[in-house]
């Protein structure tokens, strides 16, 4: 709760920077305040209190605290990526405030207890990103990205609203616990409530880019400025997914689980489409867009499995943490070295450290031990196999993971490939410490999976 206020206040402060001319310090201020937000989350974790402020509109319990801390931590890392990108000479006040507002939206998405808060969170997360996607002024691609994102985002919002309205029609409440109570009490759901639930879920599929609602994502990722893509593909997507998870786990869970089959179809379709599309990509941003879709599908499998809470939650934390870390690490490299795959031939010779970090991030995305990515994929598989879901879904997921491994490893092969021409200039010792930090974090989590994957024991 305090963290949310700190972040919003930070955003407002960033706006004031323009007036009172302290733009120079805004990066440091943001950094410190985000750390303070993390600290306040830690404090709240130590002092749990069982009250829901604002008529139960929002609630920061243990789970929400952990998830929001993950988002905040990822944003802190992202700040450095943004600073490293030579897109903007200074850390613009408008940019930082927009990102902070988006982060606040992300926090709302983790902590919502009410569909109104959910909707506002979705919008608060999306609107700054529409703008930021288009913020590369001289690039038509960037404009196209912003526009596409806006139109499709608005479409998703419309579906979300329609779904919420239909749900309200049945449950007569926006409160997710009340809705759950209503759903539990109903032996047979009226069709329009079912429709509402499905529309809500489809809207989320749009937001987290699940096939067949994923078409925007490669284009938007490609067009948007690199650092913004990094934010969209990590923090924004993860935050949306937290909301997705919460809605399905708190609100829509048993007894009415007719929607699982739909999500299952989407997940399978995403796994197949995303991984096959990623194979032919020449640009890393597009590649990561497709790989992101595939990761979304894996995350979706957690929801589909509908298993014991603790395990699902731990898997969610583990998966999103490793996904964000590896994504941010990879983008920390991309921000400096561009996104054309062929430019990375022999990259290891020029930047041995960066190549190492990049490889670890890619290995984690691929799910190779002993990175964090392995445990996250592994937990998904455990969840999936222990559920009543057909074993063929697991088999498809395995095949998809394999295709994923193929293109990640191909990329690593590219990094370490022996190019015909000798490396230009001396070996750079570029201090890409963000990527290195991410890589080390991934390895550490891989060595101590208990640290993230065992937080909750309900």
């Amino acid at each position: 709760m305090i963290a949310l206020f700190i972040i919003i206040g930070n955003g407002l402060l960033a706006l004031l920077a323009e007036i009172f001319k302290f733009q120079k310090f805004i990066f440091n201020i943001t950094f410190v305040l985000l750390l303070a937000a993390l600290a306040s989350n830690y404090w709240a974790w130590q002092h749990p209190q069982a009250f829901a402020p604002f008529s139960n509109m929002i609630c920061f319990n243990m789970l929400e605290l952990v998830l929001s801390s993950l988002l905040i931590a990822a944003t802190i890392l992202w700040l450095f990526i943004q600073r490293a990108s030579h897109n903007h000479q200074t850390f613009g006040t408008d940019l930082s405030s927009l990102i902070l507002f988006a982060l606040a939206g992300g926090l709302l998405l983790t902590a919502f207890q009410n569909l109104t808060t959910l909707f506002i969170g979705v919008e608060l997360l999306s609107i700054p990103l529409y703008v930021l996607a288009a913020s590369h002024k001289n690039s038509a691609d960037s404009h196209e990205a912003g526009f596409k994102y806006l139109i499709l985002g608005a479409f998703a919002s419309a579906l979300l609203l329609f779904g919420i309205a239909l749900l309200y029609g049945g449950a007569a409440s926006f409160d997710i616990n009340a809705i759950q109570a209503y759903l539990n009490a109903q032996a047979n759901l009226p069709a329009f409530v079912k429709m509402g639930m499905l529309l809500l879920l489809i809207a989320f599929c749009f937001k987290v880019a699940i096939a067949p609602f994923h078409f925007w994502s490669p284009d938007v990722y490609e067009g948007a400025p690199m650092a913004i893509t990094a934010f969209m593909s990590t923090v924004a997507k993860t935050a949306s997914f937290y909301a997705f998870f919460k809605i399905t786990m708190v609100c829509f869970n048993a007894p009415h689980t007719f929607w699982i089959s739909m999500l299952m179809a989407f997940a399978v379709l995403s796994l197949i489409l995303a991984n096959t599309s990623a194979l032919g990509q020449k640009h890393l941003k597009r590649l990561f867009a497709y790989s992101g879709i595939s990761h979304s599908a894996f995350l979706l499998l957690i929801i589909i499995a509908q298993q014991k809470q603790a395990l699902s939650v731990n898997a969610l934390i583990m998966y999103t943490a490793s996904y964000m870390l590896s994504g941010l690490g990879a983008f920390a490299i991309l921000v400096k070295h561009g996104d054309v795959i062929s430019d990375y031939a022999g990259f290891a010779k020029r930047n041995p450290t960066s190549a190492f970090s990049f490889s670890v991030c890619l290995l984690s995305m691929a799910g190779i031990p002993i990175t964090a990515g392995f445990f996250s994929k592994y937990m998904v598989f455990v969840l999936l196999l222990s559920s009543s879901v057909s074993i063929w879904v697991s088999v498809i997921a395995i095949v998809a993971a394999l295709i994923g491994i193929y293109y990640y490893i191909r990329l690593i092969t590219q990094l370490y490939s022996k190019t015909a021409e000798e490396p230009q200039g001396p070996i750079q010792t570029d201090n890409n410490w963000i990527a290195l930090l991410c890589a080390i974090a991934l390895l550490v989590i891989g060595f101590f999976p208990q640290s993230l994957g065992g937080i909750f024991t309900f």
Partner: protein
């Protein structure tokens, strides 16, 4: 007051809905963007009518004042300034039109099919008579929904900052 078995309320609702939908369709089908905007204004009036039917006068008026009165005027303003013509609009191929039509039709079919069933279900909450009054609305807004209400201000601020960010001239350009 019954006519053909439907109450006046239902008749008004039907007519309003019909008008609204027709205008909404015209928004999409109209070639001329100015006409589109004007049809959209009319659609908003239709929706405001629905608010009135629901006894929500405040919302109805605000809807007109804000959407029809302010936002759409800005739309019109921009369209007029940019002098958009029907020719500028890229034409879709026939096949994409057909596909879009089929998909949209399917969605419509599903929604209509689903909502047809709701006719038999009584609404769970009968709105209170004073539900649309400013006072009632204010009480709800500032008690139960205080948090979303306040956060919306952040949302609007974010949108504002975003609009300025898009609109402002890049500093490097002015140097050139």
């Amino acid at each position: 007051m019954n006519l053909l078995g439907y109450s006046l309320h239902q008749w008004v609702f039907g007519v309003l809905s019909f008008i609204t939908i027709v205008f909404a369709l015209m928004v999409v089908f109209s070639r001329n963007p100015v006409n589109s905007v004007l049809y959209l204004v009319l659609t908003f009036f239709g929706i405001a009518g629905h608010y009135l039917l629901l006894n929500a006068q405040f919302l109805a008026i605000v809807h007109i004042a804000v959407y029809a009165g302010a936002i759409m005027v800005l739309f019109l303003f921009v369209i007029m300034l940019m002098n958009l013509n029907a020719d500028d609009e890229p034409q879709k191929t026939m096949s994409s039109k057909i596909i879009a039509g089929v998909l949209g039709g399917l969605l419509l079919f599903v929604i209509v099919g689903v909502l047809r069933q709701t006719a038999q279900i009584l609404p769970q909450t009968q709105g209170a008579a004073d539900i649309g009054l400013v006072k009632t609305l204010g009480m709800v807004l500032f008690n139960e929904f205080l948090f979303p209400f306040e956060i919306i201000s952040i949302l609007l601020l974010a949108a504002l900052v975003g609009a300025i960010m898009i609109g402002k001239r890049e500093t490097t350009e002015s140097k050139l």
